[in-house]
C-alpha cells in the first residue's frame, strides 16, 4: 500500500488533468458543445488537490521518524539500460517539501477561485506543476529528478506568460532563459557523473540509494575525484556547475534578477507557487544532490556560499526597502529569506541544516500568504503601488489583521514559524563563522524596517486617497484561505518538533554520508599523492592511474554494501 501511495500523491494531479481533459473531450464528442462546464472543472480540480493533500498527510502520519532510510519507496525500470529508473521515496526533507506543496496548491486554487480558476488552462498548468514539483521532491533517481526539475519549468512559464500582467511574455522569457542556462549546467554535471560511474563500475545507475536486485551500485557510490583527474571530472567543477544551476533557481544574488520580474508579472497564484514551491527546488537540489555527491567541494565552497547568502540577505532587504511596488517588495524580501535558507544549509551542521529546511517551509507559508494578500488588495484597487494606499486598516480591518500577522511571521517574531527557522539558521551559521553569523543577524533588523514601513504605508495613517475609503474587507473565502495559512504558521512557531523531529534523522544521515564520502576522497588523494611522489613518471592520463579495473571496484562495493556498516537498504 505504501508503495503505491506516494506514486498516487505524485501523479494524482496530472492524472486528474488528463481525466478532466478526456471527460471534456468526450462530452464535446457526444455533442455537448460546451463540454465540461467550468464550474465542474474548478470543483473537480480542487477536489483532486485536496485529496492529494489528504494523502500526503497520510504519508506524514505513516512516516517513521526513527528510521533514517527512505520510506514509501517504489522502484520500477524505466530505461534500465542507462540506469534510469522510476524511483521515488521520502526522507524527512522530502516529506516536508511534499507537505508544503500539496498544502499550497489547493489554497492557490481557492485563492483565485473567482479569477483565473475559472479558466481551464490555468487549472491544468497548476496541476501539472504540482505533479512536477512532487515528482522532483520524491525522486531518488538523479535522472528522474532532472526530468521533473525541468518539466516544472514549462507550466510555470505558461502561468506567467499566459496569465500574467502586461509585460508577462518578457518576464516569462527571462525566467525561462535564466533557469534553462542553469539547468544545462546541471545536465552536463549529470553526464560527467555518468561517465565517471561508467569508468569505475562499468555501467550507469542514476539511483541515489541502493536497491536490492540492481547489480550496479547507486550513483552516490561513484567516486568523484578531487585531484589527479581532468578538470571537468573534479568535484570542484562539478559542484560549481550544480551550484550555479541551483543558485539560479533559489535565486542567489547576483543571479536573481529574473525573480522580481517574474513575480511582478505572474498572476497571484503563480507567484505563490513560484515562491512556495519552485524556489525550494534549488535549495532542495543542494540537499539531495550537491551535498552528498560532492562533499569535499561542498566543504570548500561553504564559506563562499555562506558569504553569497549573507550578501543576498542584506542586498534583498535593502532593495526591498526602496521598492514602490508591493509585489516587488515581497519578491525582494523573498531573496533575503532564501539567503537565510542557504546560509543555514551551508553551515553544514545539524542546527543550520534543520533551520534551513524549516525556513524553506516557513518561507513558502509566509511569503505565499503575503503574495495572496497583495493579490487581494491589488484586485480591489487595480494597482500595487504602495503610495496609492494608506490607512487601509480602517476600511479593511480583517485584511489588516492578517497582513500584520503574516508580516510578523515573515520577520521572525517568536511564537510564529519564522523565528524558529531563523534562530536555528543563525545558530548554525554562528558556529561556522561568528562574523558571518553576526552580520546575518543584522538582516533581522533590516527585515523589520522593510516590512514595518510597508505596513505603515499601506495600513496606517489617514485615509488620504478617496478610493481607499470604500474598500470592501475580505470575504469568507479569502478569510478561510488565510486562516488555513495561519494555522501551520502558529503551529510551527509553538511546536516545531512536528517537523524538526521528522527532518532530523535525515539530516544526520546526510551529514554521515557526506562524512564517509569526504573521508574516502581524503584517503584517495593521500594515496595518489604518495603514489605520484613515489613513481618518477606519473601517468599522462590521471584517470587510468587512479581508477583500478571496473570489475574490481564493483566487487569492492558489493562487499561493502553487504557489510553491516553499510547503508541500510530500503525495503521494497
Amino acid at each position: 500500500m505504501s508503495e503505491a501511495l506516494l506514486t498516487w500523491v505524485v501523479f494524482l494531479p496530472l492524472a486528474s488533468v488528463v481525466g478532466l481533459a478526456l471527460l471534456h473531450g468526450s462530452l464535446v464528442a457526444f455533442g455537448l458543445s460546451r463540454g465540461l462546464p467550468d464550474v465542474l472543472w474548478r470543483w473537480l480540480a480542487l477536489a483532486a488537490t485536496v485529496v492529494t493533500f489528504g494523502m500526503s498527510v497520510a504519508l506524514a502520519a505513516g512516516y517513521d521518524a526513527t528510521d533514517t532510510a527512505f520510506q514509501f519507496v517504489a522502484h520500477r525500470p524505466w530505461l534500465p539500460r542507462w540506469g534510469i529508473h522510476y524511483f521515488v521515496g521520502l526522507d524527512g526533507v522530502g516529506l516536508a517539501m511534499l507537505l508544503l506543496t500539496t498544502f499550497l496548491v489547493p489554497l492557490v486554487l481557492i485563492g483565485s477561485w473567482t479569477g483565473y480558476s475559472r479558466r481551464k488552462g490555468y487549472l491544468m498548468h497548476v496541476l501539472v506543476l504540482e505533479t512536477g514539483a512532487l515528482g522532483a521532491f520524491a525522486s531518488l533517481n538523479l535522472f528522474q529528478f532532472y526530468v521533473f526539475f525541468e518539466a516544472l519549468l514549462v507550466p510555470m512559464v505558461f502561468l506567467i506568460g499566459v496569465f500574467g500582467g502586461p509585460l508577462r511574455v518578457r518576464a516569462a522569457i527571462k525566467f525561462f532563459l535564466f533557469t534553462l542556462a542553469g539547468s544545462v549546467l546541471f545536465l552536463v554535471a549529470l553526464l560527467v557523473l555518468a561517465v565517471l560511474q561508467q569508468q569505475q563500475f562499468g555501467g550507469v545507475n542514476f539511483d541515489l540509494v541502493a536497491v536490492s536486485g540492481i547489480p550496479l551500485p547507486p550513483i552516490l557510490e561513484t567516486r568523484v575525484p578531487t585531484v589527479q583527474a581532468p578538470w571537468w571530472q573534479q568535484q570542484t567543477w562539478l559542484f560549481a556547475a550544480c551550484a550555479l544551476a541551483f543558485a539560479v533557481k533559489i535565486p542567489l544574488v547576483p543571479l536573481h534578477t529574473w525573480l522580481p520580474d517574474a513575480h511582478v508579472e505572474a498572476p497571484t497564484g503563480g507567484s505563490v507557487l513560484l515562491a512556495g514551491v519552485l524556489l525550494k527546488l534549488g535549495a532542495f537540489g543542494f540537499v539531495r544532490v550537491a551535498l552528498p555527491l560532492f562533499p569535499v567541494a561542498a566543504q570548500q565552497f561553504a564559506p563562499v556560499l555562506a558569504v553569497v547568502a549573507l550578501v543576498g540577505i542584506l542586498y534583498g532587504a535593502l532593495l526591498a526597502m526602496v521598492q514602490s511596488d508591493l509585489k516587488k517588495l515581497v519578491a525582494y524580501t523573498s531573496i533575503s529569506h532564501l539567503g537565510f535558507v542557504v546560509l543555514g544549509l551551508f553551515a553544514l551542521n545539524v542546527e543550520g541544516l534543520q533551520g534551513g529546511i524549516l525556513q524553506m517551509v516557513n518561507h513558502g507559508l509566509s511569503t505565499g500568504a503575503l503574495f495572496l494578500l497583495v493579490g487581494m488588495i491589488a484586485e480591489r484597487r487595480d494597482t500595487r503601488e504602495i503610495a496609492a494606499f494608506g490607512g487601509v486598516a480602517k476600511p479593511m480591518p480583517v485584511f489588516a489583521l492578517f497582513l500584520v500577522l503574516i508580516t510578523m511571521s515573515s520577520i521572525g517574531v517568536p511564537m510564529l514559524n519564522g523565528f524558529v527557522g531563523e534562530f536555528l539558521v543563525l545558530l548554525g551559521a554562528f558556529e561556522r563563522s561568528a562574523a558571518v553569523g553576526a552580520a546575518a543577524t543584522v538582516g533581522v533588523v533590516l527585515a523589520a524596517i522593510v516590512m514595518l514601513s510597508m505596513l505603515r504605508r499601506v495600513l496606517f495613517g489617514p485615509v488620504e486617497n478617496p478610493e481607499n475609503r470604500g474598500l470592501i474587507d475580505l470575504d469568507r473565502r479569502e478569510r478561510a484561505v488565510l486562516v488555513a495559512f495561519v494555522i501551520p504558521i502558529v503551529w510551527i512557531g509553538v511546536h516545531p518538533a512536528t517537523l524538526l523531529r521528522r527532518v532530523e534523522p535525515s539530516i544526520l544521515e546526510l551529514l554521515r554520508v557526506m562524512d564517509v564520502r569526504a573521508r574516502a576522497s581524503a584517503a584517495e588523494s593521500e594515496a595518489s599523492a604518495s603514489e605520484s611522489s613515489g613513481s618518477e613518471a606519473p601517468e599522462a592520463d590521471g584517470s587510468s592511474a587512479t581508477v583500478p579495473g571496473a570489475a574490481g571496484q564493483r566487487a569492492r562495493w558489493l562487499a561493502a554494501a553487504t557489510a553491516p556498516a553499510g547503508r541500510p537498504e530500503p525495503a521494497r
Binding site: T257, L319, V322, R456, H495
Partner: protein, 692 residues
C-alpha cells in the same frame, strides 16, 4: 546544587490565562467581527490578569515555604525547539527574582487594566478600539510573564520580542495618525537592534559552552557552567587593536556586553533611548504599564537574571555603570526642559532606568531590583495621574497650557503629589529607600571612578526633584494658561480611575517600608524585618557587601534629601518667578542688561534640550538617510539596474544577438555547397581527434 525539583502546574496558568483572554478577545473581534459586549471584554481581560495575580501570590507563598537555599518552583511543558545539539524547553521557573517580577507585572498590570476601563470608555476616538485594546494589553501581560518566568534564554527571548511586539501595536494603537504609526515602528526597530545583541549573546554562550560539553540555555545550568567559562578569552581582530584590553577579551565580558546591548534596547539606554519619548503616543495607561512600570525594566531584570555572568565580567559592568550614569544625567537634563506632560515622565523613566543600570554596574543587583519595584509604583502613579489630567483636559498634553488644576482636580492633584514627593526621594517614601540603597552601593563600590559615578548619581537625584516638582507646579499650581479659560468645566474622573490611583499612591508611600529598608533606618522605621527584600533575593543576586555605617546612611540620606530639596526649591522659584525685593529695585535695569544674554542662551539651551539634544536628527542624518541612499542610489539604480540587469543580463543578450547578426548570419548562406564544405571540415576535425 539542584537538589530537588519542585514541580508545580501553577506557573503555566499564571502565564496562559492572559493569553487565553487575548486570544478570545482577538478571535471574536478580529476574525469573526463579533465584538463582545464591553462587560464581557472587561470580565475576560481584567479577570484573567486578576486571577494571574492571585495565582502568583499563591506561588509566592509556596515558594517562601521552601528552604531559603532551595527556593525554586519549576513547571516544564514540552521541548520547544530541539535540533541537533540545541534544545530549548518550554518551561517556567519561579524563584525569588521571578516571583518579585511576576507579582509586579500582574499586580500593577491588574490596577492598570482597571484604570484602562475608565479611560477607554471615556475615549471617543475609536469606537471599536475597546476590545482591540484589551486584547493587546492581555497579550502584553502574557509576553511579559513569559519574559520573567521563562527558565531559559530562548524562552525569555520569546517574551522579550513579544513585549516589543505589543509595545509596537499599542504605540500605534490610534493608527490613523501617521505620527503614532511611525513612533511604533521606531520602537520596534530600536528594540530589534537590541535584540541582535541578545541573540548574539545566546549564540556565543551556547557555542562556548558546547566547547566544554555543557551546551545549555537554561539558567540553572548556565549558573553551574559558569566556572568553565570564566578563564576563557576571545582574540580580538587586528583592526580592533586600539580597544582597551586588546588583543584578548575575556569571554564573559563579551557575552555580558552582548546581553547588555539587548538590555539597552529594551530599557532605552543611550544610544538606543530614542524610541521611548516617541512611544508616548500610546494610550496613557499603556505608557504607565509598558513604558514605565514593566517592559522597560526588562533590561534590568535580564542583568539580574544573569547576575552570575555579570559578576564575572568586571569590564562590562563598568561599561554598564557609565552608560547608566550618563543616560541618567542626559535624560534628566532633557526632562527639565520638557513641555509635553507625558514626555517629561518618559525622560524621567529613562533617567531612573539609568540609575538602576548604574547600580547594576556596581554589582548592587538587589538594590536595582528594589528600585524597579518602587519605581514601578511611583511611575505608574504619575502616569495614571497624568492620564487623568489629560483626559479631563480633552487630550491636552502641553504643560504650558495647564496650571491651577489643583482646584478642579483635587484628588488627582493629591495623588500626583504623592508620586512627585516619592520620586523626588522624600524620606520614608518608597523612592527614598531604594535610591539610598543604590547610591550607597555606588559609594562603596571598589571600582575605579566610583566617586565620579556617585557624584553623578547625587546630581541626578537633585535634577529629578527639580523636574518633577517643576512638572507638578506647572500643572497644578499657578494660573490656568489653557485656551478659553473654561477650566470650570473640567471635572475629576470616575471611581474606576481614582481607585487604582489611590492604591498606587499608598504603595508609593509605604512600598519601601513594606519591602524592608536597610537596617540603618530601623530605629526610626516600624519595620519588623529590615532588609527582607535583599535577603529574599540573596541566593540569586548575592549580597552587596559594603561596610556602610549607620551614620553614613544617615549622611547620605541627609545630603540626598537636601539636594532634592534644593532642586524642588529651584523648581518653585522657576515656576513662580518672584520679583526682586523692593530694596534692590534700583539694580533692576543693570541686572537685566547683564542677564539678558544669559537668558537668551538659556533659552537656546532649553530649546536644544527639549529636542533631546538633536539625537533624532543626528540619527536621521548619520544612519537613516545614508542607508536609504545606499539602498536606492547605489544598490537599486547602480548595482541592480546598471550592473546586473544592464551590463550582465542584457549585455549578454546583446552580445549573443550581435554575434548572430554579425557573424553567424553569414554562415547561413542557403548554398548547399557551403554547407557541404562545413560538414566535410567538421568531419575531418572529428576524425583527426579520434585518431590522435
Amino acid at each position: 546544587m539542584v537538589s530537588e525539583v519542585h514541580q508545580t502546574e501553577l506557573l503555566r496558568w499564571i502565564v496562559v490565562l492572559p493569553l487565553l483572554a487575548a486570544a478570545a478577545n482577538g478571535l471574536l473581534l478580529g476574525l469573526l467581527r463579533r465584538p463582545l459586549p464591553r462587560t464581557g471584554t472587561i470580565a475576560l481581560s481584567c479577570g484573567s490578569v486578576g486571577v494571574s495575580f492571585v495565582l502568583s501570590f499563591v506561588a509566592l507563598v509556596q515558594l517562601t515555604g521552601l528552604d531559603a537555599e532551595d527556593r525554586f518552583l519549576v513547571d516544564g511543558l514540552h521541548t520547544w525547539i530541539g535540533a541537533g545539539r540545541f534544545s530549548a524547553e518550554c518551561s517556567f521557573l519561579l524563584d525569588p527574582l521571578s516571583a518579585v517580577m511576576a507579582l509586579l507585572v500582574t499586580g500593577v498590570g491588574f490596577l492598570i487594566h482597571v484604570y484602562s476601563i475608565g479611560t477607554m470608555e471615556a475615549d471617543d476616538r475609536e469606537d471599536k478600539g475597546f476590545q482591540r485594546y484589551f486584547c493587546y494589553l492581555n497579550l502584553f501581560v502574557f509576553a511579559m510573564l513569559v519574559l520573567v518566568l521563562g527558565d531559559n534564554l530562548v524562552l525569555v527571548f520569546l517574551g522579550w520580542e513579544g513585549v516589543g511586539l505589543c509595545s509596537y501595536l499599542l504605540i500605534g494603537f490610534w493608527y490613523a495618525d501617521d505620527r503614532h504609526a511611525r513612533a511604533g515602528m521606531k520602537a520596534f526597530v530600536a528594540n530589534r537592534v537590541g535584540d541582535v545583541g541578545f541573540l548574539l549573546g545566546i549564540f556565543l554562550l551556547f557555542w562556548s559552552l558546547q566547547d566544554v560539553g555543557l551546551a545549555r540555555v537554561a539558567f540553572a545550568d548556565l549558573r553551574e557552567a559558569m566556572p568553565a567559562l570564566v578563564e576563557r578569552t576571545v582574540p580580538l581582530p587586528a583592526w580592533l587593536g586600539f580597544l582597551p584590553g586588546a588583543p584578548e577579551w575575556r569571554l564573559t565580558n563579551v557575552i555580558a556586553l552582548c546581553f547588555f546591548v539587548g538590555a539597552m534596547g529594551k530599557s532605552a539606554q543611550i544610544p538606543l533611548h530614542v524610541w521611548l519619548p516617541d512611544a508616548m503616543s500610546a494610550p496613557t495607561p499603556v505608557s504607565a504599564l509598558i513604558h514605565a512600570a514593566t517592559m522597560v525594566t526588562a533590561g534590568v531584570y535580564l542583568v539580574c537574571r544573569l547576575a552570575f555572568l555579570y559578576e564575572a565580567a568586571e569590564a562590562t559592568s563598568l561599561v554598564i555603570a557609565w552608560v547608566g550614569a550618563l543616560t541618567a544625567l542626559f535624560a534628566a537634563c532633557v526632562a527639565m526642559a520638557g513641555r509635553d506632560l507625558k514626555k517629561v515622565l518618559a525622560w524621567s523613566t529613562i533617567s531612573q532606568l539609568g540609575l538602576m543600570f548604574l547600580a547594576l554596574g556596581m554589582g548592587a543587583y538587589a538594590a536595582a531590583l528594589f528600585h524597579v519595584v518602587t519605581h514601578a509604583f511611583m511611575k505608574a502613579l504619575l502616569f495614571l495621574g497624568a492620564g487623568s489630567v489629560i483626559l479631563a483636559l480633552d487630550h491636552e498634553q502641553d504643560i504650558d497650557r495647564m496650571g491651577g488644576l489643583r482646584a478642579v482636580l483635587p484628588w488627582t492633584h493629591r495623588m500626583f503629589g504623592v508620586g512627585v514627593v516619592a520620586l523626588a526621594g522624600a524620606p520614608y517614601m518608597a523612592g527614598f529607600f531604594s535610591k539610598d540603597a543604590m547610591l550607597m552601593a555606588v559609594r562603596h563600590a571598589e571600582v575605579p571612578g566610583h566617586e565620579a559615578l556617585f557624584a553623578i548619581g547625587l546630581l541626578v537625584s537633585g535634577l529629578t526633584a527639580f523636574y518633577i516638582c517643576r512638572l507638578h507646579l506647572r500643572v497644578f499650581h499657578g494660573e490656568y494658561r489653557g485656551r478659553g479659560g473654561k477650566r470650570r468645566e473640567f471635572h475629576e474622573p470616575g471611581q474606576l480611575i481614582l481607585i487604582p490611583l489611590g492604591i498606587l499612591a499608598l504603595l508609593s508611600m509605604f512600598g519601601g517600608l513594606l519591602l524592608g529598608p536597610s537596617a540603618a533606618f530601623v530605629p526610626f522605621v516600624p519595620s519588623e524585618d529590615p532588609d527582607s527584600f535583599g535577603r529574599f533575593l540573596e541566593p540569586l543576586l548575592g549580597r552587596t557587601e559594603h561596610a556602610a555605617t549607620d551614620a553614613e546612611h544617615w549622611g547620605l540620606a541627609a545630603s540626598a534629601t537636601s539636594i532634592a530639596l534644593a532642586g524642588g526649591a529651584l523648581a518653585w522659584l522657576a515656576a513662580r518667578r518672584p520679583g526682586l525685593p523692593q530694596a534692590l529695585a534700583p539694580l533692576r535695569a543693570p541686572l537685566g542688561r547683564v542677564l539678558a544674554p544669559l537668558r537668551r542662551s538659556g533659552r537656546a539651551v532649553t530649546a536644544t534640550a527639549r529636542t533631546g539634544f538633536h539625537v533624532d536628527a543626528l540619527y536621521d542624518v548619520a544612519l537613516v538617510r545614508p542607508l536609504y541612499w545606499l539602498a536606492d542610489v547605489v544598490l537599486r539604480r547602480g548595482v541592480e539596474q546598471r550592473v546586473i540587469d544592464g551590463a550582465l543580463v542584457h549585455g549578454s543578450a546583446r552580445t549573443v544577438r550581435a554575434l548572430a547578426d554579425g557573424a553567424l548570419r553569414h554562415l547561413q548562406t542557403g548554398l548547399v555547397q557551403n554547407y557541404l564544405l562545413w560538414i566535410a571540415v567538421g568531419a575531418l576535425v572529428v576524425v583527426g581527434w579520434l585518431l590522435r
